[in-house]
């Protein structure tokens, strides 16, 4: 083949094109405009039809008389269930469980927002129970079917994020404290001021979550972590902007860096740190003295779930003392199930980081649902991140 005939891959980038006359240009633009207009009409037409469709579909909220197929579609966090939980449930009830996993609340929330996902049971963290409730993504529970609810520790029956458990039943709980590498930190870590230790300067991080980061500042300053007081929030904002100068990053993706020693100290969820310990024994967890948020992951039923009854059956099953204990013995988080405690391993109930004594527990409030006032935190968080 002769040289000029060779097809060059670079032809797609060839910017020299035959000259375009003004008339062709105008005509082409007019044509594209018309096509765009037609497309726009088409899309608005689609929207309206979709709108009526969903309005019609949402009216029969729950078909209570229709018997459900013996199926439960369960969407849970990765590595967050005992090996025998599902097989035993299937054996006892004859309900077949399909099990799928996600890695973050954001992922779960985004998926639920897309509409009908077919899942019957999800496990959002408290703050996301609130968000999903407001976004009208959850359906109220039929508590008459969850007779074991009284097995719950009373603390979880009146929690600020869902008082009365109208939408959610707690799964496991923990705290948002500090994870650190004890061989590298070079000092004792007992409270939030550990971020000031010289050895961790530029090697620490805090969470990329507005409410968690502000709670850290508010606890450290001795203020209410759910405050809406302007003066206290001003203090906290200033605290975080100052703290930002000392840390390496603001991230919720801290597990690998903490494991590898890239980060020596970070604000962390208790369970994450316990998981790191299986690979790196030097990483320790502490509940800061001045206080920290408790978090709770909760079972909830998405709106439009095909098998809500089966989900409630599962919730009731998990609340059985021995089942709840087996779950906790496996995943090693705190159980909200008071009746399960006698069956939980002593190494877990005796661990003050998982089962803190009453005096510590008093300083571990839940995050409160602030409704539209969350904006107050969001705006200040933006200022901290942009500072």
């Amino acid at each position: 083949m002769s040289e000029p005939e060779r097809v060059s891959l670079a032809f797609i980038w060839d910017t020299a094109s035959p000259h375009f006359s003004r008339r062709t240009f105008v005509r082409t633009m007019a044509f594209m405009g018309a096509a765009g207009f037609a497309a726009a009409c088409g899309s608005s037409g689609n929207n309206s039809s979709a709108g009526t469709g969903s309005a019609g579909g949402s009216t029969p909220f729950r078909l209570s008389n229709k018997p459900e197929a013996k199926v439960l579609n369960f969407y849970n966090w990765t590595d967050y269930i005992a090996d025998d939980t599902i097989p035993n449930f299937q054996k006892e009830t004859g309900i077949k469980v399909t099990y799928d996993n996600y890695d973050s609340n954001d992922e779960l929330f985004a998926k639920m927002r897309t509409g009908d996902t077919g899942f019957d049971l999800i496990v959002p963290t408290d703050a996301f129970v609130v968000k999903m409730k407001h976004a009208d993504l959850l359906q109220p529970l039929d508590l008459s079917l969850i007779t074991n609810i009284n097995n719950l520790d009373p603390r979880f029956r009146t929690a600020d994020y869902d008082p009365g458990n109208l939408y959610s039943i707690p799964w496991q709980w923990g705290t948002t404290g500090i994870g650190f590498d004890q061989t590298q930190v070079g000092g004792s870590v007992t409270d939030w001021d550990a971020f000031n230790l010289p050895a961790v300067n530029g090697k620490s991080a805090f969470l990329d979550e507005a409410r968690d980061a502000f709670a850290m500042a508010l606890f450290a300053l001795g203020h209410d972590p759910n405050t809406l007081d302007t003066g206290q929030l001003d203090d906290a904002e200033k605290y975080l902007i100052d703290l930002k100068k000392k840390v390496k990053s603001i991230t919720s993706d801290y597990q690998d860096p903490l494991k590898s020693g890239e980060l020596l100290l970070c604000q962390a969820y208790s369970g994450d740190v316990f998981q790191i310990q299986t690979d790196n024994k030097n990483v320790q967890y502490v509940i800061p003295k001045s206080g920290a948020f408790s978090w709770v992951d909760n079972m909830a039923i998405p709106k439009g779930a095909p098998h809500p009854r089966n989900a409630e059956t599962f919730m009731n099953y998990i609340l059985e003392p021995k089942v709840g204990a087996a779950l906790t013995n496996y995943v090693q988080y705190g159980s909200p199930n008071k009746a399960a405690e006698p069956y939980i391993d002593k190494s877990i109930t005796g661990n003050p980081l998982i089962y803190p004594p009453a005096s510590v527990l008093a300083k571990l409030p839940f995050q409160k649902d602030l409704g539209e006032n969350e904006i107050e935190y969001a705006d200040r968080w933006d200022k901290v991140k942009s500072a």
């Binding site: 060059s8 891959l9 670079a10 032809f11 797609i12 980038w13 060839d14 910017t15 020299a16 062709t24 005509r27 082409t28 044509f31 594209m32 096509a35 765009g36 037609a38 497309a39 726009a40 899309s43 954001d106 407001h134 976004a135 990329d208 979550e209 507005a210 930002k244 840390v247 390496k248 990053s249 603001i250 860096p257 590898s260 020693g261 890239e262 409704g371 539209e372 969350e374 904006i375 969001a378 705006d379 968080w381 933006d382 200022k383 991140k385 942009s386 500072a387």
Partner: protein
Amino acid sequence: MSVAAADPPPAREQHAHRRRLPNWLKANLLLLPTSVWFAFLLVIPTAIIVGYSLGKRGIIDPVHFSWGHLIWSNYTEALNTIYLPIFIRSIEYAAISTLLCVVLGFPLAYWIARFGGRLRNVYLVLVIIPFLTSYLIRMYAWQFILQRNGLLNRLLGDVGLGRNHEFLNHPSAVILGLTYGFLPFMILPLYASIERMDKALVEASYDLGHGKISTFFRVILPSTAPGLVAGVLLVFIPAVGDFITPELLGGVRTQMIGTTIADQFGGTQNWPLGSSMSILLTAFILIGVFVYLRRVGEEAL
């Protein structure tokens, strides 16, 4: 070949002529699929973003839009001086990356075009191959290479240079990522231009007494300007708005405007502000491109 076959029946030709569409319509029909595509995925989304940028924010519903109550203050908020350092930093990182892409890309493109011989297309494929992997995955790969117990530190440790260097969370890591990620965008248009350049011009320049440097600046550079202009635009524009690279390779002091905009749609939940920032950034880039093209000359493209 028979004579009859070379001479088609006249009736069929007439028939074909009658059904032929006018030329302008025929050409525009080719544009139909793309036009619909752009209408759905560019024009309408942009209109939605403009709408969001004039809406009122909320926590439960992220945006409340009403024609009677357009919130123009989203734009003044987006121009708040607290975002200025982030904006300047984005331009700085993108500009340095673009420059590095030119410095790294030009010699390679020139070499492939002039000395690549029969294997030219193979070399081009080699440039494109990393492109077939998702940008996100390539940036994660850099994270693995640069992190504290990463490949680079281990390698340095093995040759006795210490294994505890901090490469991540530094501006140079972000610039490295951007340069690496967008380099093919520079090489390909440069290659197209260089390949088209008349080799005889270079010889003529030597014959007329110009040295190598003078020939480069007076002959090679002007005749490859179209590729250079295209390459600069293709690298600078995505780099300035990038948010994955600073997120994965940078830290608390390397935030770029793309990250700030992404935050408005994530943690901060201020969609109207994020939308107005996007519109302003787009407008800024369009004006920048316009001025740039006016200065370097539209002929170059």
